[in-house]
Symmetry: D2
Subunit: 409 residues, 4 copies
């Protein structure tokens, strides 16, 4: 079981741990119905998990370490992976808000600081949930088709986001979009209140797994948002250091959720091996060498997944601390992403293997819908799709960075 | 695409091919509902597929080759894996019946020959379906707990079979059971009409995949069957050559169904690669090297799975032809099983990989319930559980046979 | 053990088998010294193996089947992989000569037929060895740097070939080269007698494995060959159907040599498991489950490698028979190469794994130079480098062909 | 590149780094000749590396962290794996001596402390090298056949050790042996000066790789050592916590050497990709996607190996610190060993893969004896054989520990 290394990380992990039993008990029903576990999030609000990144002075847990973020998420992944990845969206967005608040305070921007502070307090109190949505059909993150057009009183947004995890309870959306300008298309990030007219969730989430994550589509049909609610991040279609680091930070900790899934599967296998007997073996199947070999392979796979997650997150924490408030170079940002992608590849491969081998230990019973492993097998398969980069791009990207041939976009 | 090598095999394959379009169109609905595709079997009755093994002189297709059996099944696997594996149960049982008929004819047992002939004609006409059921919870094939007890007018059967694929439309069950005797427990095979009082299908099939296979549990609660309907095969818990060969023959061709699943997945990936575009790639993703690498890996995996199935089935056909009506030695029977287990390991591993990589080619859309790949991913995972031997036993068994240390049971 | 399917194939296999004991006994010494096993080839001349492809009417074995070619080679691979791959070069070249002879006969070219016939008879009598060399540093097969320049009395050749396996005893070299012309550079094939002035073998073969294959470099420094000894095959840098099919046919059967290496390694593992004991196991290590698992994996890997080789060679035999004397389309030629590449990938991966796992069964003793497995481990690693395509190109190529995007070159 | 976490670890790593260039330059010649790199060890004596574990107060580097031990060793592994693993033997033994000295000081054993202190000072000055040898043919570590027999003036030793790495320059041997007693055979550890009559190194080291490690056999033929030079560790054939922890500590850091080998291979691949060109690619092969994919896979494999080594060593450091001078429970000792075995499995698999894929990037040139990769490929294959546990035992052992079924021995 992964362990945190900081005191706020310990708090966050303990809070996460406190939800495990109830969330696990609800997971099957939500999976079957494919509905969003709102009661889980009501409890996460009460326990303070939603305010994990809010500084203690503003009522939060004061989490800072990326490693400990992933560790806490692994606890929730053990219970219900849908809830874990949905929470991660909000945590990533709220972590960026803390950065904005610190920047405003440091820069003497009192109004900005006050706005952020209010939002952070609302988050800490569990009353405000942010959904960061970044995916569209037929394109990639750097080339959103959703477009912001200048109108008299601000911006008009049109487009369609998919895989908008957590959206059923979001108060605010953060999303990437295309902003046409005289210098060419720009990449913008918009902050869109959930009750903006024209923003229409589609209630269409029906997938192989992660069925309780609320990852529906969201249509933007002439939504109008005021001036000042779009930040320009650079040219559409090109990596900039902040955007690239943002992608790493928003997605790396998802791996924690999947390590948690593998942990749950591993435990189910060990329990089954000790409890199931067969006349052929004259006792528990745990005494059979074939089962011991499989459990040995599960341990190896799990150790590999855990280690690379912990090691990569440790390195990222060290880099962020060393970097402080300075923007990293594009080289460094690609190096961070490369390390994340290596970790993602191994975690994907090994956690899927752990769940699959756990099924082999349990036997045919694990194939039944009533067995939790049949859900874990579907949930854990979501991991490779997670952006950036899916298996059809990851190896090439990693190789390019290692060879000093940084991709533009 | 696998090709048959005999003329009856070509007929069977063509018949199977003729069902592909309709079965594929129905697959999603049956998968969602988890109900048995009775209309598929009505059509298989009409087309003659149910009578594949019945000699032409009795109205069947005259199929004999194991290879071609697997090839035909691969066509159905492309369309609907549940239907393919359900049909396989019946085909295996009807193939044994042909053997019994040949034996009776050769041995001058006119009454026996007549009984078998009537049954085979009924099978050829599509009016008679046999369900071979061999699995129970908490034990293995050689050690069934279901028990036949002597009663005045025959045998009384008590027990519970699980994973009774095809049972919703069965007219007759063939099942293994324990027959206590003075020389110790014996392994028996009983033939039980589906309408025997006390035989109660449980309608409880609800699984990760193969949801249309009707693999429900069947309870036997004091079923009484007449004398002469149980055959003793040897001691309970020990391999005998016929039982061991029977296991190989009943299960090897299931691999054809899974190769069919992989074939369908491969095609979905190729089609998607040619049809989906991304601005990043300036055209179809088929032009992107990352996609080409994945498709290359799919081809390699598919070729490995196909080749070992064809090669193993060819070898088995040659062995059976060489063996004729003689019972093989236990060594030879283990050698056949070992080769089948090697093929099963590779086919399992590679077909699962093909489906998973096909999902990687397609991207996140493949994770949606509406996409056929999300069903194929669940269906194909059934394969490793199939008996004998699951992954917790296969490598040890294969190694023992290769080392000349034949397992007793 | 692979089995031939034709009568000439049986003859060739028997001849190959007859050399196994002696070649195996000499393998270690040649490996240590890194010298060419001339005495092996003297014996291959006597046994008729060098004339395997020569028609029976001209004194040869009349081999035709690609499968049986690979099968015979696997026997030699069991004994000494260096000898096997060296022989393969000659066999591939002599097979092409048979084609030329048939073409000349069919076309009524009596002079050509006579020339070929004389050569084939010399080959059948074991007095003539052909070395096909196709590799150069820093380029690929389709883009040789070795150049043929027009001179008054024929052609002048300059360049350097590497990995010229078999060259120490070659009477004739066949090699690809660049032929500048007015329509742009052409790809030519030259036939160069080994005693041509300016052709200088470098005696520089010193490699990790295949140390007895004589794969030295050969320098061409102003060699002059007469008119009519260069055939133009198409543009330099582009695939044409005959060149592509030629590559498939020249290299596919090499896989047989490596399957033979794996077969030898598998046997060494099984023998060791039965002969080695440990107090810990209270008897032979074959009784230990960990060893049984490894041997099981060896069986699986070996079965996968064997099956895909046999299946691919069967398919190629069927294609060639169907094709007859017609030149295949470029599409079909790429399809053949694609299937070969899939087989190569699996055979490479699995045969290397077999040797490595055999070492694991044997234990530390297998790491000693005196143990044959330490040689097999080095020999078998040659396989992935073999052309075309190495692992840095194979997956992309296979994917391109599967996606209908045939590479030009 | 792995980084140390303590100040003494930084010193050790810097010292190790200082040797890289010279050791790397000598590696090929020692590999070819198969002789021991005495000049490397003369330089390691001068630099202080031999005294790495000696406390600063006694003139050493004061190394304590297992992680940093492994990190330093990885630097040497980059240069010459033979030297790295030979040094590791001495470091492990000298680390135990530091423990003995601390125990003597804490226990008020002035004479014992003085003896240890003198030895440690000799080690720090580079004048004393210890060879820990633990392997014999046909048995395992817990069941040595080498036997100590009581004689009037001490003990008489008879037996044969193999794989006695570092022995060519050893001043003292530490070895496990069987000590018959009235309570049954005991496991003893003897300290035998290298110049003891009857101790005869065999100069027989000739292996696939690690050819400069001096891992010859050593015969003990009636060696007599005085009373007090054998420590009894528990029953022959059974694990005790100190023996088990000793095995973990003596072998875990070897993984650092192999990570170093992989690091060197990775760099060779990247350099080659940037320097080699092909007409086909119109420039360096680094621009070719197939090469980028392979380099991406190398990065992933290398990251997995590095991470699990660092993570496992971190955990072990934390455990040792928490444990202090207390003997761990057998459960905890097995848990440590299990984690080491998981790390060993992954490091073995991934570092071998890195070297092999680096060869694929470089192409056929990497297969030549003159290319360093052909040596790295042989060296890195030594890793799986390293005790305990080899691949024929590791998975079962790990599974047993995870299932709470601790093996006795």
């Amino acid at each position: 079981m992964l362990q945190p290394r900081t005191e706020p990380g310990r708090r966050f992990t303990d809070v996460a741990e406190s939800h495990v039993e109830k969330f696990a008990a609800r997971a099957e029903a939500h999976d079957r119905a494919g509905n969003f576990p709102s009661e889980n999030f009501a409890e996460l609000a009460v326990s303070g998990a939603l305010g994990a990144f809010v500084p203690e002075s503003l009522g939060g847990l004061g989490l800072d370490s990326v490693r400990d973020w992933a560790v806490g998420l692994s606890r929730l992944g053990r219970a219900d992976a849908s809830t874990a990845i949905a929470l991660n969206m909000h945590l990533g967005a709220s972590r960026m808000l803390v950065g904005a608040w610190r920047g405003a305070v440091a820069g003497g921007d009192e109004a900005g600081a006050a706005r952020s502070e209010a939002l952070l307090k609302a988050i800490a109190s569990g009353n405000f949930v942010i959904c960061a949505t970044a995916t569209e059909a037929g394109t990639d993150f750097l080339r959103p088709k959703t477009t912001a057009t200048r109108v008299s009183d601000g911006w008009r947004l049109d487009g369609r986001k998919i895989f908008a995890t957590l959206s059923p309870i979001a108060n605010l959306y953060v999303m990437n979009l295309r902003v046409p300008s005289e210098e060419g298309d720009q990449m913008g990030f918009a902050f869109v209140p959930a009750d903006t007219p024209g923003l229409v969730p589609q209630d269409d989430w029906d997938a192989l797994g992660m069925r309780a994550s609320g990852s529906q589509s969201v249509v933007l049909d002439g939504c109008v948002i005021p001036d000042g609610t779009i930040q320009i991040a650079g040219p559409w279609g090109s990596w900039t250091p902040p955007v690239l680091m943002g992608r790493t930070l928003a997605n790396l900790t998802l791996l924690g959720a999947f390590v948690g899934v593998a942990e749950a599967a591993r435990q189910l296998a060990i329990d089954a091996a000790q409890q199931q007997s067969k006349p052929k073996f004259g006792g528990p199947i745990a005494g059979h060498s074939g089962v011991q070999h499989l459990v040995g392979e599960i341990e190896i796979d799990f150790a590999a997944a855990s280690a690379i997650l912990v090691d990569t997150a440790n390195e990222l924490d060290a880099f962020l601390e060393h970097q402080g408030s300075r923007t990293p170079s594009l080289d460094d940002a690609h190096e961070c992403m490369k390390q994340f992608q290596c970790a993602k590849w191994i975690v994907n491969e090994k956690t899927i293997a752990v769940v699959s081998k756990a099924m082999d230990v349990v036997g045919g019973g694990a194939y039944l819908s009533a067995h939790p492993l049949s859900r874990l097998y579907r949930d854990v398969r979501a991991a490779p799709f997670m952006q950036p980069f899916a298996p059809n791009e990851a190896r090439e990207y990693i190789g390019q960075v290692a060879l000093g041939r940084l991709p533009d976009g």
